[in-house]
Symmetry: C2
Subunit: 231 residues, 2 copies
DNA sequence: ATTACTATCTCACGAGTAC
DNA sequence: TGTACTCGTGAGATAGTAA
């Protein structure tokens, strides 16, 4: 744990940015105050405290004051930096769903087996899914919430089509992994007959068979998301 | 500039470390309090504030509370991270000396030209220095202070020797660059006849000639130091 | 112009506690 | 067990000002 006071982080960072690591850099407390968006008095206090804590050294030449960061100050910044770095890096980049299988593989087979869909599955997913979809009832609110997150992330888009009699809606596919074992795709249908608490999966394989699971079994689905969501 | 309150940084980092970026992670305020070395009440308040500022989302399932970091929260952490990163990276890794030339190249020539030294210069520096040393009177206290910094950094060591009559002290060499132009070495002598405010330089070339400077001229010397001083 | 003291204010924190 | 309120304390900020 860093012992550097949190309030001093930006001040020290500013001194680093000004090049004060190995050389004494002349600085005024009012300019420093502006940089850290605090008052001149606050900047002055920060310097006094940073010095008495051994994070910086100060040198006065008449009216001029120069500041240099000590090895201890540098080490402390690196410590905080690495704490943040590892927090951000450790962060897994997938959305997880947990629930129970609520249906056999038969339902949805009709729609998903239509040529208008299968042609696109073949070219965009690389395979024609096993006939039918696997429906999973999500266990908790948090997993229902997680579905919203997917909207913000890129999906493989299967376009809707018409066969002359009626139209069929689009299907969004999110490549996923079932029980850390079987590759599949979580699908979001433009027109679904399920409520929010159910997700549907397709796969090249028969998921129930591959995972040796049956209706009522606990199941975990992971959908990878981009590690860089914005910036 | 980050708008996230500094006090919340470690709390958010802890949530990241717990994997709360894309999934709701169950957490108690008392365990969170321990992690950030604050009280349960403080942790609770942090969560309330982080939520109302839009950095996290919370979900209650009865007694259980789960937390997820929002895109805004992630972006804010990345912002702070990059501020620290660039401060640390921008930091130049050299020690700078400024002063004026106070002597010709003749002095010191006798000692530095002795075979006991020149042989080592040749093998350890790669050249036999131009006869004599260039003496520079440092302009300010800060540069005299900077000499102390060098002690903590690795030098090329030229060992002392004896010619039977007397002994000659060691010489520490720090590769340096004069006026961003001429390669040289700042030397620290075991036995010097100069006071603290003077540094001595040797070079393959005649520095005054190469830099077209003379006694009284302003001169800048840079000595590179390792970018990673500790950890 | 500086730095940094004193006084004052705000708000972050922890204690106690309701739910 | 939990969370999160109120309240008292003190750290950290600013304003005013001395040197």
């Amino acid at each position: 744990m860093p012992e550097l006071k949190l309030q001093h982080i930006l001040t020290l960072a500013e001194l680093f940015a000004k090049g004060a690591r190995y050389n004494f850099i002349p600085i005024t407390t009012s300019s420093l105050g502006k940089s850290i968006r605090k008052s001149q008095q606050a900047a002055s206090k920060h310097l006094v405290e940073l010095e008495s804590d051994g994070y910086i050294e100060r040198l006065r030449s008449g009216t001029q004051v120069s500041v240099r960061i000590t090895t201890k100050g540098h080490a402390e910044m690196l410590k905080i930096f690495s704490v943040l770095k590892s927090s951000l890096e450790t962060s897994p980049s997938y959305v997880e769903f947990k629930g129970i299988i609520i249906s056999g593989m038969g339902e949805g087979a009709y729609y998903m087996s239509m040529k208008g869909y299968t042609k696109q599955f073949k070219s965009k997913l690389g395979y024609v899914p096993f006939p039918g979809t696997l429906n999973v009832k999500l266990r908790d609110k948090e997993f229902i919430e997680a579905k919203r997150l997917l909207d913000a992330h890129p999906a493989i888009m299967i376009n809707g089509f018409s066969d002359g009699k009626r139209t069929y809606g689009w299907v969004k596919c999110y490549p996923a992994r079932v029980n850390d074992n079987v590759d599949a795709a979580l699908i979001v249908l433009e027109r679904t007959h399920h409520d929010d608490s159910v997700i549907e999966l397709i796969s090249k394989e028969n998921i129930k068979k591959s995972t040796k699971l049956s209706t009522g079994s606990q199941i975990t689905i992971r959908v990878n998301v981009k590690p860089k969501p914005s910036e």
